[in-house]
């Protein structure tokens, strides 16, 4: 087990990395047009939140955040399965996964 005795990295840095990772995922959701890539960026945002939870848990000396990460991972797995099934069903109907062509609800 690695015990970073000499580590000087504080909680701030972990939270900053987590925030930047979340922002990258957010920009991906905003800027990308492919539904699958948008979905991957959603996963990035979820991972960023788990990183923040694990960091807070470590620096507070509790286990609750780590247990919460377990639940997030489980729910992410379920979410990916359902979301990809929806994307496949959508592709069967419309034959595209580009966001700008999936605008039937607007008209």
């Amino acid at each position: 087990m690695i015990t970073p005795v000499l580590a000087t990295i504080g909680l701030n840095t972990y939270v900053a990395v987590s925030a930047v990772l979340f922002a990258i995922g957010f920009f991906g959701v905003l800027l990308r047009k492919n539904t699958l890539v948008v979905y991957m960026c959603l996963e990035l945002m979820l991972i960023a939140s788990t990183l923040a939870l694990a960091a807070f848990s470590h620096f507070n000396g509790t286990l609750d955040g780590n247990v919460f990460v377990f639940f997030i991972l489980t729910i992410a797995a379920a979410e990916v399965a359902v979301g990809l099934a929806i994307i496949v069903a959508l592709f069967r109907q419309r034959h595209t996964v580009q966001v700008e062509e999936l605008n039937q609800l607007k008209h």
Binding site: G25, N34, I47, H58, V67, V88
Partner: protein
């Protein structure tokens, strides 16, 4: 040494996350997602959560990204036309970036965050099990039920139903 590892893993995570976003090909994006997840797993190990790193790699790199790649191959989508972004999208991105920079700066200047916990031992598998089966027993049951519902939902979504004409 641990600092160097932290910076390596953080750089790996963030750089590959950027590559996920800017890559035109969805398959390459999925591959960079795997590398980014490896970086996050390394950060988890540095946070004394080796079990979480293991579960992350198992669930995400093993199952989720494989599922993504499977769907990408199945749909066989051509790379979409890169239309120029709308003004609203650019404005939202700029605003989001400015807010993020503000948040990080204020985090470093003002936030009073706890210093590293004193002499906590790394959480063992036994400690996780203790928590999951005592304090969090009900959430474990609920999550199990959620997985069941998700499985049923996926089956229903991906099944083709025949429409019967003479439904009475």
């Amino acid at each position: 040494m641990a600092d160097l590892l932290f910076y390596t893993f953080a750089f790996l995570t963030l750089a590959c996350a950027v590559l996920v976003v800017v890559n035109k090909d969805a398959v390459n994006a999925a591959m960079f997602l795997i590398v980014s997840l490896v970086g996050v797993a390394g950060l988890f190990v540095l946070l004394d959560a080796a079990l979480l790193a293991f579960v992350l790699l198992l669930v995400y790199a093993g199952a989720v990204v494989a599922l993504f790649l499977f769907i990408i191959m199945l749909l066989d989508t051509t790379p979409g036309s890169l239309k120029p972004f709308k003004a609203a999208t650019i404005a939202a991105s700029a605003l989001g970036g400015a807010l993020l920079a503000l948040g990080v700066v204020s985090l470093y200047q003002r936030a009073v965050l706890p210093s590293p916990a004193v002499a906590t031992t790394a959480p063992t598998l036994k400690a996780y099990a203790q928590q999951l089966f005592t304090t969090y027993l009900l959430p474990v049951q609920v999550v199990g039920f959620l997985l069941l519902i998700a499985m049923l939902g996926v089956i229903v979504l991906s099944k083709k139903f025949e429409v019967k004409e003479d439904a009475s």
